[in-house]
């Protein structure tokens, strides 16, 4: 699903440049649930941004579902993001004046799905994350866990090839974190490819594979025995 070869990225900070990614190589197969771990400054967020087409790499190859991702214009990047990727953020990033349902329907709007169909589909995904009764509530009326579930529903609504989650549990307490992870596991069980960036060991161990990043290189890449999150809920 994702192929990365010798990915480099550096940021210019005044006169000196900061080499963040120093040649990353890895592949993600269809249906994997991968945790990218690393302390802050290890380059994990930069990697995720490049994978998410929010940022471009300096050199190296990135292929997503057979499509080479290179030198994208903003418009093309937006189209690819919409078609291939679903995002889940640490701070949820729901649009605060839109109801849960409208938030979930938003990527479908950019896919030019007709309104009625959009609403139905959004409702279906809200139901999947167990928030159908909250469909018409504003984000401010939802708890943190609920917000993240809405965000996951929104990311899934566009039926992306890969779900990218940037510290999805970073702003949640551990019980809610496990709830969210249980949901992510459930989605993965259905065959979706998911990438989770985290610095929490327990969250990482709920994935099926852990990629350890340190100072811009992969220091460890191992398949693990998945810890099911339901048992903690």
């Amino acid at each position: 699903m994702i192929e990365i070869k010798d990915l480099h990225k550096s940021y210019k900070m005044g006169s000196n440049s900061l080499h963040v990614l120093k040649g990353i190589n890895f592949n993600i197969e269809d249906g994997e649930l991968v945790a990218i771990m690393g302390s802050s400054g290890s380059g994990k967020s930069t990697l995720l941004n490049i994978l998410g087409m929010l940022d471009g790499a300096d050199s190296g190859e990135y292929t997503l579902d057979g499509v080479p991702i290179k030198n994208l214009s903003e418009t093309k990047a937006a189209l690819y993001r919409n078609k291939f990727l679903g995002f889940v953020f640490q701070s949820f990033n729901l649009i605060n004046y839109k109801s849960a349902l409208e938030n979930v329907a938003l990527p479908l709007y950019y896919q030019k799905v007709p309104r009625k169909e959009r609403q139905e589909k959004a409702m279906q995904y809200l139901d999947k994350v167990g928030l159908k009764p909250w469909a018409h509530h504003l984000p401010s009326e939802l708890s943190g866990g609920q917000k993240q579930r809405v965000a996951i529903a929104r990311a899934m609504a566009a039926e992306p090839k890969v779900l990218l989650a940037d510290e999805p549990t970073g702003a949640l307490d551990s019980k809610t974190s496990y709830e969210v992870m249980a949901l992510i596991q459930k989605i993965n069980d259905e065959g979706n490819t998911i990438l989770v960036v985290t610095h929490e060991e327990d969250i990482a161990h709920m994935c099926k594979r852990i990629v350890h990043l340190k100072d811009g290189v992969i220091v460890e890449d191992k398949k693990i025995e998945q810890v099911r999150a339901e048992q903690y809920v």
Binding site: N49, L54, D55, E74, N93, I95, Y97, R115
Partner: protein
């Protein structure tokens, strides 16, 4: 065509509607600007209409010509000679200058602006007495309170009839007394009253205390022969009054042996000059109002742009999310520009409605007053359309500013955690 994309409009109204307070604040500037623009333009129009009403009944393309004294000796004549026209001059002028539409000769009893004693049943009035042709009514319209003005039959039969001013009526008759059919006496000759006119606020050349009798009757009754006092002349629409004025003077100078450079021998008054001055005044006033209004509007639209800029900053994250979810820069830009247009257009309409309301109130308070030139203050449809198009055009240009700012922010920066 995106213009008919229901989803886009839904999205925009939704966004604006969910942020009512912000939307309202944003619109305030344009609402006020539009109110000011419409009020200014409307008032200028009202003033223009008021002047038009004031001068209704006076032909704007007219002039008056009378004889004065020569100021230069010529062909053996000494200076200071009084110029007296003859009735035949009217025919000569009409024949030689085809641009003359109406030429009404007039003769006055006594000297110019002189006063003659008019008697009736022991009451008297000092009035001007004019011998006129009915055509004069085409140049300075008389507002008749009762009866009729002089007509062609009066001229043909030299009838001893007269039309009197309201002022004259008050002097000669008791209040409420029937005047039509009554006789008044001028220089020992009786005339029967056929009409009474009222001063009508327009340029009043004849005064309010005057008696009009048929020209032919005047000739016989007062033995004026072929003399003619002055002429009221209306020229064809589209012809410069000044040009005709010069032609008339040239002909008369030749006929009466007046020095070609003598400016004082022939008196004249060009009515169109007054109208031109007033038209120029109201045009300048309208132009000025439009100018001020448009700049106020510009300020209002800039205020919208400003607030949109601020909200774009505030919405950086939202825009970042939208773009992460697949909104192309074009879509983001379009949404912000259309938001600017919708805000401006809606605010403009609200301001317009308020201003029209104020104008109607003003109209009902002062609109009918005869003493102040202010009638039907309202902006015209073309004025409205022009200002509206201008406003929306400006809002597109100025909406692009925040829109460009919005797409300049890269989604990654917008989404960066604090």
């Amino acid at each position: 065509m995106w213009l008919f994309d229901r989803d886009l409009w839904f999205e925009i109204f939704h966004t604006l509607g969910k942020n009512m307070f912000r939307t309202f604040l944003t619109m305030l500037g344009v609402i006020f600007a539009m109110i000011i623009l419409v009020l200014l333009l409307g008032s200028a129009n009202g003033m223009s209409n008021g002047f038009n009403k004031l001068f209704a009944g006076t032909a704007s393309n007219s002039l008056f010509v009378w004889g004065q004294q020569t100021s230069m000796p010529y062909k053996g004549f000494e200076r200071g000679r009084r110029i007296r026209y003859k009735i035949e001059d009217a025919e000569i002028l009409k024949k030689q200058i085809p641009e003359i539409e109406v030429l009404a000769p007039r003769i006055e009893l006594g000297s110019h602006r002189g006063v003659v004693t008019v008697y009736r049943n022991g009451q008297t009035s000092g009035s001007s007495v004019y011998g006129d042709f009915p055509e004069i009514d085409n140049i300075t319209k008389k507002k008749l309170v009762e009866g009729r003005f002089l007509n062609q039959t009066d001229i043909d039969d030299s009838k001893k009839v007269c039309v009197i001013g309201e002022e004259t009526y008050k002097l000669l008759f008791d209040k409420g007394e029937e005047a039509i059919g009554q006789e008044i006496r001028i220089n020992g000759i009786y005339f029967s009253v056929v009409g009474i006119y009222k001063p009508n606020n327009n340029i009043n050349i004849d005064g309010e205390n005057a008696v009009f009798i048929p020209f032919t009757t005047f000739q016989k009754a007062f033995n004026s022969g072929d003399r003619m006092g002055w002429m009221a002349i209306a020229v064809e629409e589209g012809t410069q009054v000044a040009v005709v004025e010069k032609q008339i003077k040239d002909i008369l100078k030749l006929k009466y042996d007046i020095h070609p450079d003598d400016e004082r021998a022939i008196g004249s008054f060009d009515m169109s000059e007054i109208f031109n001055n007033i038209t120029a005044f109201t045009t300048v006033l309208k132009g000025f109002s439009f100018f001020v209004g448009i700049f106020t509007l510009l300020a209002g639209v800039i205020a919208i742009s400003n607030i949109l800029l601020i909200t774009v900053k505030e919405r950086t994250k939202e825009i970042g999310v939208r773009r992460a979810l697949g909104a192309t820069p074009k879509i983001v830009k379009r949404q912000i520009v259309v938001e600017a247009i919708v805000l401006t257009a809606f605010a403009g309409l609200v301001g317009f409605a308020i201003a029209v309301g104020i104008l109607s109130i003003m109209n009902s308070m002062w609109g009918s007053g005869d003493d102040f030139p202010f009638v039907n203050p309202m902006i015209s449809v073309p004025q409205f359309i022009v200002s509206f198009i201008l406003m929306v055009g400006l809002s597109v240009l100025i909406g692009l500013l925040p829109a460009n700012r919005a797409v300049k922010v890269r989604p990654i920066e917008a989404l960066r955690e604090e």
